[in-house]
């Protein structure tokens, strides 16, 4: 406009105020739009024009529509969104496990109690078939509970995998959208002459926030207005207008748990980034899997192994109603020979070879000592000279001691595991040992016939009351070696007097035909028969794998018999011993009973859930604060907009009045010079 042009000044005012009003209208319309930053038109006075006596203003112009936004608070919101989401997902999933483990109908504790209660009923009346049937029923319930919990947790595993797939897909979509917006923003900036396309920026910020709900990200602003997004340890997700993809891949070394893969755009190398991703739903679900789900599955598995192994070991030392030695009570596991000679067979545990191994070496792992088994998973590797076992939960590495240099290579029992490799592995080969992952789904009851419950003990000791005149007595037999071939042979201990007197001072160990038992079967006392005996010292006798104690004064001719407990249907000694298992320290280094081991799981899950809930509440509060801080600057306040509306309406009216006055002045001038 030309100098001092009132019309022009008025019109500039109109335009500027109209612009402001539009922007106010924009703010009001978007009061409920998520992520919207309020805009403000920045007005500045036009460059004045010089005149003879000073500068004359030229009105106002709008320089920019400013987006009121703070980088810092947006960042805060983004970070806290990621953290809060992560804890939210963690607490949501963890509380599912939490409710399961302590549920009186689905939890394990009541089933264990009922099982042992019914075992006591069998102790009370071992010959009763109904009591035995109740025990079998409760045993079935117990393994059912294990199976139910295992299948429930497996479903959770699948749900986790599904969520990973979904989240990865969402992340990729949002990343694409961000890259698309990046492009749009670059173009818009170009078109707008370097001005920021505010609404697009808001939109992009919102998308980045959405991305943060899925995963923690770091953003770096580029000069051309685009944003670069990095995840994990610096893997780039969005670079300008290009996106890199995360992929949900199967882990061939652990097929039950999905991994997250990433292809490095520069080197082209594909790798797993699972351990590097944190925050957001994805981080939360990964934490859940690592710290709650997998330990729960393994803890249950350890308990299943514990109950099965310790119960079976005692059960096999008993005698059932058919007069046979007890079989396995719990089953469902494969058994392999133990690495320690003389030990009975052991349960085979889950171990795999790495898919990328170059040698054909195969790994076999057996359960050497259930007391010392942990809930962790391991990785075995070698550097050619030594073998190392890495605990995948704590990352501790132990060097294994070779007990038999192979092939096959056998190692000393470590953490309750007996490990062997059938041939020499190559350097770089890895083997995965997951001992407690599967048992809770495998355990079953191996007995269906109540007669097969071994409540009795196979050996009984009797004095020959018809003959005996002395006051000597024999203890109950303790079984030292259940596998001794002559365990159930009848053995007599016959007293005699070397001087022909009445009181006996020696004894012989013979069979039922009075033929001396071979010395090879007699572990104690040592030496040749007859053995000296004094009533003050008594005698400890170990023969054929059992042991008895004799004491008291025996007379010449007194006899004691150790024989198979035939027809011993009312004998409850083994049932009593089995019942004592409920309180015995059978697990976790011998310090915990079954109930204690289960309580450990309950406390673990309970604590994690509680922590997650508390953290979520805290993070949520922080997030609310951050949002509030952001809104402080960027949020639309309707009252403020209403006030501004009034202000600019008035200003507009005033500017319009200026135009009207300018027109009147012009009219006056025209009228003045008209002829």
């Amino acid at each position: 406009m030309s100098d001092g042009d009132m019309l022009g000044v008025g019109v500039s005012g109109l335009q500027a105020f109209q612009r402001s009003l539009t922007t106010i209208g924009q703010n009001i319309s978007n009061v409920n739009t998520e992520g919207y930053s309020r805009q403000r038109v920045n007005l500045t006075a036009r460059y004045p024009s010089p005149s003879g006596n000073g500068f004359v203003g030229n009105g106002v112009k709008a320089i920019a529509t400013e987006r009121l936004f703070s980088e810092y608070s947006t960042d805060q919101v983004r970070q806290r969104t990621a953290t809060a989401s992560s804890f939210n997902v963690l607490s949501e999933f963890a509380s599912q496990v939490d409710n399961l483990v302590a549920d009186p109908d689905a939890g394990l504790s009541p089933a264990i109690n009922d099982f042992f209660d019914s075992l006591q009923e069998v102790s009370d009346d071992p010959a009763s078939i109904p009591a035995r049937n109740v025990l079998l029923t409760n045993a079935e319930s117990l393994v059912d509970r294990f199976a139910t919990m295992d299948s429930w947790l497996s479903n959770l595993q699948k749900a986790v995998n599904d969520k990973i797939v979904n989240e990865v897909s969402t992340i990729n979509e949002v990343a694409s959208a961000i890259a698309g917006l990046n492009k749009d923003i670059i173009v818009a900036r170009g078109i707008g002459g370097g001005q920021d396309p505010n609404d697009l920026l808001d939109k992009r910020d919102k998308l980045v926030n959405d991305l943060s709900e899925s995963l923690s990200v770091r953003t770096v602003k580029a000069d051309d207005g685009s944003i670069n997004i990095f995840v994990g340890n610096g893997q780039s997700l969005v670079l300008g207008t290009k996106t890199m993809k995360l992929t949900a891949i199967d882990n061939p070394d652990d097929p039950q748990n999905k991994d997250i893969g990433y292809v490095n755009p520069v080197t082209g190398a594909a790798g797993s980034v699972t351990s590097m991703l944190t925050g957001g739903d994805l981080g939360g679900i990964l934490t859940f899997r690592k710290e709650v789900l997998q330990p729960s599955i393994n803890s249950l598995g350890r308990l299943a192994l514990g109950i099965s192994t310790t119960f079976n070991a005692l059960h096999e030392q008993g005698q059932d109603l058919n007069g046979q030695l007890g079989q396995d009570f719990f089953g469902g596991f494969t058994e392999i020979p133990s690495l320690i000679t003389g030990n009975p067979n052991v349960v085979q545990l889950y171990a795999t070879e790495g898919v990328n191994n170059t040698s054909p070496a195969l790994i076999t792992v057996g359960l050497g000592d259930v007391t010392n088994v942990s809930t962790d998973e391991y990785q075995l590797s070698t550097d050619g000279a030594s073998y190392y076992l890495k605990n995948l939960s704590t990352n501790d590495i132990q060097t294994l001691t070779v007990s038999a240099a192979g092939p096959p290579f056998e190692f000393n029992t470590v953490d309750g595991l007996e490990i062997q490799l059938d041939s020499s592995p190559a350097i770089g080969d890895v083997f995965f040992i997951r001992p407690t992952r599967n048992p809770s789904g495998q355990i079953n009851v191996a007995i269906t016939d109540p007669n097969l419950i071994a409540a009795a003990e196979p050996i009984k000791t009797n004095a020959n009351y018809v003959i005996n005149r002395g006051s000597a007595s024999i203890s109950e037999a303790t079984i030292i070696d259940i596998n001794n071939a002559n365990l159930l042979d009848t053995v007599k201990i016959v007293y005699s007097s070397s001087t022909g007197g009445t009181v006996a001072d020696q004894f012989t160990i013979v069979d039922s035909a009075n033929v001396a038992i071979p010395a090879g079967q007699i572990t104690s006392p040592a030496g040749a028969q007859p053995y000296a005996y004094s009533s003050s010292a008594g005698a400890l006798i170990e023969v054929n794998g059992w042991q008895v104690q004799l004491s008291g004064e025996a007379f010449d001719g007194d006899e004691f018999v150790v024989e198979q407990n035939a027809s011993g249907v009312s004998d409850n000694r083994n049932a009593l011993a089995l019942g004592n298992l409920q309180s015995a320290g059978t697990m976790i280094g011998g310090n915990a009973s079954y109930g204690d081991a289960y309580s450990e799981l309950v406390v673990l899950v309970g604590n994690k859930t509680r922590q997650a809930e508390v953290s979520y509440e805290a993070q949520n509060a922080l997030l609310a604060q951050a949002k509030s801080l952001r809104d402080d600057l960027s949020g639309v306040n309707l009252d403020e907009e209403a006030a501004n509306l009034l202000k600019f309406q008035q200003s507009y009216a005033a500017a319009a009045q200026v135009i009207s006055i300018a027109d009147q002045i012009f009219q006056t001038l025209i009228n003045a010079i008209r002829r």
Partner: protein, 451 residues
């Protein structure tokens, strides 16, 4: 400080939602009556309550076990009361039968009652409990324990197992006694040693069961007789005592000598036995822990045989084999049934001649002392059962108190304090109402209302 409109709404909304969440949690607690709605509410409390539930459950089972034991023991007690009564009756009959006012006819009637009592005792010994198991069979509960062997003896098909029942973590009690302990493992004689006449005896000597005095030295002793070394055969007898090796114990002067040497000395007149007095204590046995006496007149043979008319001063010799023998041996085990059977058989043994009567009374002495042992054993077992029942009762009470204590602790962890919860519920209701009311009021305020 600015507050944006949406922030304003959000703050009010968040407050209401929080109130609602808290309220619903309180409602859940009140509905369930439990303070803990999930383990995460109190992880250690949850684990502790699982432990307590396990303990309470075990304790309840112990109560069941205890009443089972109580029933079984009461049954055994009752059965043994019957056995004891029968045995007492047998004893009474023994005393009656031993009286010489009875004769073989009357004793036959007594035998009938005795045989019935034996049947009764056998039946009681083969008692079964409510589940059909024999209570005196040891571990072989489905095997009938006692039977006759067809030859007048008795068989036992059970064993000496004793079943324990668990009444608490640390206490067990035996649920019964085996047939061996109750009926079979009973020492005959006076419990330490038994006395009997030799079956080949021809005299009328009667030996009493004797008693233990001091420390009994276990051995097989024999008391034998000799004619008096001086004077007339009918003036008296002498006796000597041997041990199982055949060496002399009494008289002390010849102690240690083999019997043959002593007899030779006696025949030569250089040794003599101890003068025999009817019914007086046999001398020299106290050191070996025995005190007994013999009455009646044992027979002794000599060469030449001595009769009433043998003149004084006739020389004679005796041999080791020529005398009535009385044996004193350590007690054997003899069952109650065998004792009663022995009595029954004795009642119809020959009772005509004085010698027969002597044998009869010797046998009666034995069965009378044997039945005392049996009765004593039954009483002992009954008192054992009594003690066990006492223990069971005490344990039932202890378990009861323990259960109460555990349940109280459990309740304090798990259960809801209703008054606190309801108060909280009311507070939260008020809070929610206030938040809702505030929200409505604040939302109504806008400058646009005034434009």
């Amino acid at each position: 400080m600015r507050v944006s409109t949406s922030a304003l709404t959000q703050i009010s909304l968040d407050a209401m939602l929080k109130q609602q969440t808290d309220l619903s949690k309180t409602q859940l607690q009140v509905t369930n009556g439990q303070r803990l709605t999930a383990p995460s509410d109190d992880p250690y409390g949850s684990a502790r309550s699982l432990n307590l539930i396990e303990t309470v459950s075990q304790n309840d089972q112990y109560q069941v076990n205890s009443s089972y034991a109580k029933n079984r023991l009461s049954l055994e007690e009752g059965t043994l009361e019957g056995v004891g009564n029968a045995a007492q009756r047998v004893r009474e009959l023994m005393v009656m039968a031993n009286n010489d006012a009875q004769n073989i006819e009357t004793r036959r009637y007594i035998k009938e009652e005795v045989d019935q009592l034996l049947e009764q005792v056998l039946a009681l010994a083969n008692s079964v409990d409510s589940t059909g198991e024999y209570i005196f069979s040891g571990y072989q509960g489905k095997t009938t324990p006692f039977g006759s062997d067809g030859l007048g003896g008795f068989t036992y098909a059970g064993d000496d197992g004793q079943r324990l029942i668990k009444m608490s973590e640390s206490t067990s009690v035996a649920m019964g006694d085996s047939g061996v302990d109750t009926f079979l493992n009973i020492k005959n004689g006076n419990g330490t040693f038994q006395t009997r006449e030799d079956v080949a005896n021809t005299g009328t000597g009667i030996i009493d069961p004797g008693s233990e005095i001091g420390l009994y030295v276990p051995d097989d002793y024999s008391v034998k007789f000799l004619p008096p070394s001086s004077g007339n055969y009918y003036d008296g007898l002498e006796y000597y005592v041997l041990d199982s090796a055949g060496d002399i114990i009494v008289p002390a002067s010849d102690a240690g000598n083999p019997e043959a040497t002593f007899i030779a000395n006696y025949n030569a007149g250089t040794s003599a036995g101890v003068p025999y007095e009817e019914g007086a204590e046999i001398q020299g046995l106290n050191n070996n822990g025995m005190k007994l006496s013999i009455s009646g007149r044992p027979n002794v043979t000599s060469v030449p045989p001595l009769t009433e008319s043998t003149p004084l001063g006739t020389t004679f010799t005796v041999t080791a084999a020529g005398s009535d023998v009385f044996a004193i041996q350590p007690s054997n085990n003899q069952s109650l049934f065998q004792t009663i059977k022995n009595f029954s058989n004795t009642l119809v043994s020959p009772q005509n001649s004085p010698e027969d009567l002597a044998k009869f009374h010797n046998a009666m002495n034995r069965v009378m002392v044997d039945i005392d042992e049996s009765v004593g054993r039954v009483l002992e077992i009954r008192s054992r059962i009594g003690a066990r029942l006492n223990t069971v009762d005490k344990q039932l009470n202890i378990n009861e108190a323990f259960s109460l204590q555990m349940n109280m602790t459990l309740s304090s962890i798990q259960d809801l304090d209703y008054s606190e919860a309801i108060t909280r519920l009311n507070l939260q209701l008020v809070g929610l109402q206030a938040a809702q009311s505030a929200y409505t009021k604040i939302q109504g305020l806008s400058l646009f209302n005034y434009l």
